[in-house]
Assembly symmetry: C2
Homo-oligomer: 203 residues x 2
DNA sequence: CCACCAGCCTAAAGCATTTAGGCAAATAGG
DNA sequence: CCTATTTGCCTAAATGCTTTAGGCTGGTGG
């Protein structure tokens, strides 16, 4: 007999459902109550599987971080330089557009403990691998990782917020030009600021 | 005689208090209830001054956007090229570090109507002014605005989230190098890509 | 067979939002 | 100056999410 009296909630299924819910209603809409409704179970029942709301969101975040790192690693296989840069950027961007809730989840601020054991470090690793292809190492590599991370995240964040919606040219074109620009920049990474003299005011 | 029976709440004072509260407890912590406590008034009383919670946050966002645009405009006065770029970026970054709640407020997604009449367009205007100094116009200018906006916002967002906290070199150094890099890039903005189309990223 | 435990439940408290309706102080008009 | 209206704040109450405490039950191991 199929048990009707047990709903079969587990932490894993909560996370899975939470991930899907996030993409439907936004990461902020992922609530213990909403998940209880989805499992047709009373709210307090979930507290035996998950410590609290924060814990739930953390798990969803870890899931998204890992999934995204997997996709990034897959996209980077066999690529280097410009191809690799564009591939990774496109993975992030496509993930954010396909799964906005998961992308938002991946950006949840984790406590240092959790962050260290998350897939976060794998993301940095992917970027560093790309930069080796540009012969960037040491401090320059760190700066470049931060630039790329900032630009990827910033662009995706603004695009997702609709910042580029009602203006020409369309966002796809800007994205491609920005990838070009980053590639050009990395191929010719400026040395320590020699403090170029202020540009002459041309007549 | 000082009236003891009227607390003297107005929409303006609510916004002002909300702005300060945002910097203290984060923009998400700005709640009608918290403001009522701050004014020592019952919660429903605020609903005669503000339509609802969303309305309150929108007003705070508009305040922050305008304040930030004012600072940007002031910083740009008399500057061009690299100096202007760094000045504007630093205004954003300093504002975010001084007033994290206001910065978060400024990033609230407004409906198109409100956005159009906000100080948002002034921000784009500032960036376009800088790019004229780099001889960037037309579509290239739009792409560059988006790049700069993305990089500024992305860097500040990651820095604020503590993403650069526990690693060398420190964030200030990266910021300076990234400003250098952006300046170099704008001085030598790449023409339309003649590269072979980017390889398809795994389906 | 039975005792335990895992999985779900009800009850209840805390806090935020929001609407409805009331009273009294401030103010404007005659 | 006095009244009538408006304004500012109030109580009451519904809704929704979080979280803790404690109880019932059915499947499982001894």
């Amino acid at each position: 007999m199929v048990s009707v009296v047990r709903a079969g909630v587990t932490a894993e299924r909560l996370v899975q459902a939470g991930v899907e819910l996030a993409d439907e209603v936004g990461f902020d809409g992922v609530t213990v109550s909403a998940l209880a409704r989805r499992f047709d179970v009373k709210v307090p029942s979930l507290y035996s599987h998950v410590r609290n709301s924060r814990d739930l969101k953390t798990r969803i975040s870890l899931y998204a971080l890992a999934e995204l790192a997997d996709r990034g690693a897959a996209a980077l296989a066999g690529r280097a330089g410009r191809d690799a840069l564009i591939a990774l950027g496109t993975v992030y961007r496509d993930y954010a557009r396909e799964h906005p809730g998961r992308y938002a989840a991946a950006r949840l601020r984790l406590d240092p403990q959790t962050a260290a054991s998350s897939a976060g470090p794998r993301h940095s690793q992917l970027m560093r691998a790309i930069l080796l292809g540009y012969r960037l190492e040491g401090a320059d590599q760190v700066h470049a990782v931060r630039l790329i991370g900032s630009t990827f995240h910033g662009y995706i964040s603004l695009e997702l917020a609709g910042g580029f919606d009602h203006s020409e040219p369309d966002s796809q074109e800007s994205w491609e030009r920005i990838m070009d620009a980053l590639d050009a920049l990395l191929r010719n990474w400026p040395a320590l600021s020699t403090h170029t003299p202020p540009p002459e005011v041309a007549s």
